[in-house]
Symmetry: C2
Subunit: 300 residues, 2 copies
């Protein structure tokens, strides 16, 4: 017998009615009590996110900002598939796979101060599922609609379980008014199937527009969750960071203030949770958005 | 001799370079120390805005919210020139001249608890230059770009001096993340001429789009002002209010949160500052946006 039937624990991109399901998997997979202490782990487990103040020194922030600027002005980088430009201004909005185009970023993303946290939380060796630097300009930087990353990674990339998290390291100050990350605390414990089939090459739309046509939960679910749990806006100085569970409902407003926002964004995934065929898309998203070279990366 | 030459103390909608000018006029025109006390007046004078907590009781908030809902569902009101609908959803974004369509609002807007403040600050009898209720829906309510109201009222309505202020009374909670008012404290003391001629019937565009083509200061001026003075986001409970000088630089982000925002917005102007011919537009904006019936209104 050669055919196997795969069980989908988190069906999404469905037709009909979206019924929220309980998360089957843990949020914290490891047992260790360092580098994060018990209080930090507990906060992360129950809320789905954790703020890490002063992760980078002021000097490091300046170094990485200069590197972002250098990359954003490099014609070869701008022309590559890794770069996402703002529809209106042509400014670079995101650059993917930063560890492949920058030695500085490669060193940071593979450094034990980050990977030790990832191993602790995910309870295994880890690798980088996705990385990028984001730049949200002032005077109109675009919003990102509410979504769970895991919902996308599961349906479009074939990630089996929510055994991954994002770490967003701020290179600029996050004010309440320049479009910082908003999360709904506790929302990582429910999975909200979304309605509608994934269109072909959908990432080309979903990474550029504020209200993608599929992949966002019902407004009534979002409203109920926000009524029950509130919304936490993650503000803080340059150099601070926030880690959040792959299944966290999050989004961000536009930025009409003059103050741009820039951050380094890394997704660590467990080597026991590597990608399979997409669960709800015709073909996987490209390599630069969704890393499938895990064996080589996990060994670094 | 019949011809007179009018002096324009605040030239704007110009060609060439925008050079900020100092405000010639006072911010507080009266001498009285009530209903606002000295501390409140000083705050208003130096910052250009003042928060008034618990201006309305919870019961009043409920009453006015019900009245807003009633008006927004009234087909005659929706069809009138006074109503501005959201471009995408057709929801009512603003309704002007609320004191003309609602006895409840007429009573509130002419009540001494509001007009006494206006008389105190403007140092004369006052009248309503403009009124509206605003409704900014959740899940994508539109942003308003940075501007000084006086810059518009001067150029398009013919208001001679910045001897007016706005009072925004919240009917819903203002969170940092649902697109509340942002102001640049102290910016009311400078006048920023804007570049470009006022297009004909420009209010039809400027009231609907996030980044109107004229009437907003240079980004470099805005950046410098925000760097120097910061940005204050006005948050607070339903029933709280904020008054701000007509020449204050202000704007608001979009609202991707599920929480709608609704407020009552009133502009009080001094009867010694009534409208003339527009200073930089072919014809005045319509009556419902820019009241020219001041004698009858000032006597209420």
């Amino acid at each position: 017998m050669t055919a196997t039937v795969r069980t989908d624990l988190y069906p999404t991109r469905i037709t009909g009615e979206s019924v929220p399901q309980s998360r089957i998997d843990p949020t914290v997979w490891g047992e260790a009590l360092s580098p994060l202490d018990k209080e930090q782990l507990d906060h992360y487990e129950s809320n789905g996110y954790l703020v890490l103040d002063e992760l980078l020194s002021d000097e490091e922030v300046q170094t990485y900002l200069a590197e972002v600027k250098r990359l954003s002005e490099d014609p070869a980088v701008r022309a590559s598939e890794r770069a996402v430009l703002e529809p209106d201004s042509n400014q670079m909005r995101s650059l993917f796979e930063v560890e492949k185009v920058s030695e500085l970023f490669a060193e940071l993303l593979h450094s034990p101060r980050l990977t030790d946290i990832a191993r602790q939380v995910l309870g295994s060796e880890v690798y980088i599922h996705q990385s990028r630097v984001n730049y949200k300009p002032g005077f109109g930087g675009a919003p990102f609609h509410w979504h769970s990353d895991f919902e996308t990674w599961h349906s479009e990339d074939g990630m089996p379980q929510p055994r991954a998290f994002s770490l967003s390291i701020s290179l600029t100050a996050n004010f309440p008014f320049n479009g910082p990350l908003m999360v709904i605390p506790g929302s990582h414990k429910l999975f909200f199937p979304t309605i509608g089939e994934t269109p072909p090459d959908y990432h080309k739309e979903s990474l550029q527009v504020a209200s993608p046509s599929v992949g966002s939960p019902d407004h009534r679910h979002l409203t109920r969750m926000a009524d029950e749990h509130g919304i936490a806006q993650i503000t803080g100085d340059a150099g601070s960071a926030v880690m959040f569970d792959s299944n966290m409902l999050h989004g961000s407003n536009g930025n009409l203030s003059p103050f741009a926002r820039s951050n380094i964004f890394i997704v660590y995934n467990s080597v026991e949770n590597t990608l399979e065929a997409p669960f709800a898309a015709v073909k996987p998203r490209p390599q630069h958005i969704s890393n499938r070279e895990f064996p080589s990366v996990s060994s670094t």
